[in-house]
Symmetry: C2
Subunit: 148 residues, 2 copies
């Protein structure tokens, strides 16, 4: 409840969300700088990574895992297929479903991309201690779970 002449109050939960919005936008831009070398956006790279981690996998599960819009995932999958980074096969018991797996070419791009990300993330997060890092991972993992 706000007082007329005061600044609109933001509760602590909204402070969390605001930081996530700002950090998210920043990292999306920086991550896309890295992935553009492979002709991919950062969302495309993250989808490829998810297919590699959890594959073989269908699009619905990718949507749930990453909380991406399904039309976006569909378009990304189409592009990754066109670039020969993934293979698509049919689900054996449901013809609507497509099963996705990373190709060797895709794996190579992932390997190189992860090297670059690991390097870059280590640099901007250089000021974090091991304790800070573990704490951050725990906090963020918890937030991801709440979002799902």
């Amino acid at each position: 409840m706000t007082v007329m002449t005061q600044k609109p109050v933001q509760n602590k939960q909204t402070q969390i969300a605001k930081h996530l919005l700002v950090l998210g936008a920043f990292l999306q831009r920086e991550a896309s700088r890295i992935t553009s070398d492979f002709g991919l956006t950062q969302q495309q790279f993250v989808v490829l990574k998810t297919i590699e981690e959890k594959g073989p996998i269908n699009q619905k599960d990718i949507c749930c895992s990453l909380m991406f819009e399904k039309s976006n995932v569909s378009k990304i999958v189409k592009k990754l297929k066109r670039d020969c980074l993934i293979d698509i096969s049919s689900g054996s018991d449901d013809n609507r479903v497509s099963i996705l797996a990373v190709t060797p070419k895709g794996r190579k791009i992932l390997e190189r991309g992860m090297e670059l990300f690991n390097e870059w993330n280590s640099a901007w997060l250089k000021g974090l201690s091991n304790g800070d890092i573990k704490q951050a991972i725990m906090v963020l993992r918890n937030l991801v779970n709440l979002a799902r």
Copy 2:
């Protein structure tokens, strides 16, 4: 350094970044659902909020504070001006600079928007204790500072 047949390794810093990318995309979409009622995107709303918090302010400082791309901030400022949510005046000693402040109409939108955000954020973060919340704010604030 990765072994040929194993999954590309991601270090802990990259785990942090990945969570931020996914949470950021999710919150951007959800936040835009809320702000679309005011004819604004979530980035536009965040800029308006920043002008209200730190104003009067120039565009360069908004770019630094939010780590947004300057052409984006310029376009957002133009739209907020067109919608009569902010006023623009010239810097007194540098004609390149424009000084931005929120109008009463803008303040009203902020107040209503913050109410909706506070509500929505409280809901999806319902599972967090007060200790979790404080810890999350501390972690995220630290990450924002490292990013700047």
